[in-house]
Symmetry: C2
Subunit: 210 residues, 2 copies
DNA sequence: CGTAGGTTGCTAGTCGGCCAACAACTTTCC
DNA sequence: GGAAAGTTGTTGGCCGACTAGCAACCTACG
């Protein structure tokens, strides 16, 4: 199918434009700033197209979250190589976020904003974010377990507590960056996290250069 | 003036009731749920009283933030004793938050919600929270410096980075707790933070019981 | 010519804030 | 001491601004 029918092209182009505009607006002022009129104007279309394309406001948010998560997952998978020790696979999480935030700050900021917005009255969004974070903690805890098994992480480490703390670090850092991007150097902070977490989890039998 | 005139009593009672109701609503569904009608209904008054008392929506939020911060500051000051090493004074921050969250979860949840809401379109709230966090980081960094000077904290610790990381821990933990109070044990998590930060900052010359 | 993409007029609903009126209270004055 | 005069607390109707979503319409493509 060399030419995917110009109609489909039009649809895809407008869809991407609408999602990009929505991401920008959310990144700038949260969900409250994401009005249909503002999206249409910024994307170069009309306000009515949003409902026609995504059905409703919730549908738009869903599509945006799915798109961003998908992009992040692709990047993390690209970093992670098969056969690596669990510790390295765990650290790919930090590295992937750092890389994604540098390359595509607009979508990353929008996703962060949505995470914090999930504390608001939108029950569906809250539920989705709660499940996502639970899954993330479980994922991290499993990696810590695997690291204790393969010797890349000290056996005295508590997987559950580590997962909670690591997620807290990532979210709390994101929060401070969102609140005051000028004063918070996100990339440098990720390096500190990388180093600190590395020290805290390091297995004692590994050679250490203090 | 033994009897502070029944009018003043009425005013204080209604003011407290309005602030309590506002805190509850914010804790439950963020600023968006804090409508004048909802406040009045929950507090047992009319919606018109809010503007009459606080002038505007922003005025109400200001009053609420001031009240809660004041209460927290009192608690932290009560814990901190003069002459303590800087490390102990630093840790009183964690302890005070933990204690406050246990004793008065409603106001603490409301304050946390306002912090995360500050990423939204409200410029005044954002500015206030940004300044607050900057001050908090500066405070922590100064305590770390003092700890390096009095020997209670290892000299290899970077004050600025430590401040950023510690605030990130506190905020990220609060976020996960707000999002999913059932799955996140806040008090236990504060204990982990206390221990982890203690290990990370500990001066090497102190006797350590692993 | 039919269908899908895109637009615009419209509706129902919500919100913050203003304002005039009422009720409770305090002070002044005889 | 008690009533009149003045003040303060509280109420609820109203208005303008804004929103999401719908439905009829126009336009471009197949």
């Amino acid at each position: 199918m060399p030419v995917p029918t110009r109609q489909a092209e039009r649809t895809e182009r407008s869809t991407e434009a609408l999602l990009d505009a929505a991401a920008e607006l959310i990144a700038e002022g949260g969900l409250a700033s994401m009005t249909f009129a503002a999206i249409g104007e910024r994307a170069g279309y009309s306000r009515g197209l949003v409902t026609a394309r995504f059905g409703s406001r919730a549908g738009l948010v869903n599509a945006l979250v799915s798109r961003t998560w998908g992009q992040f997952h692709v990047r993390r998978a690209a970093i992670t190589q098969a056969g690596q020790p669990a510790f390295a696979r765990l650290m790919s999480l930090v590295t992937a976020i750092r890389q994604y935030a540098q390359e595509d700050p607009r979508n990353v900021r929008a996703l962060f904003a949505l995470m914090f917005e999930a504390l608001g009255p939108d029950e569906a969004l809250r539920e989705r974010m709660a499940q996502f974070h639970q899954a993330m903690r479980d994922d991290i805890a499993a990696l810590v377990e695997a690291g204790r098994a393969d010797g890349s992480i000290s056996p005295s480490i508590d997987p559950q507590a580590t997962a909670l703390i690591l997620v807290a670090l990532l979210r709390g850092l994101a929060y401070q960056w969102m609140l005051d991007p000028v004063s918070v150097d996100l990339a440098a902070a990720y390096d500190v996290i990388h180093e600190q977490v590395g020290n805290a989890l390091a297995a004692p039998d590994r050679s250490k250069s203090s």
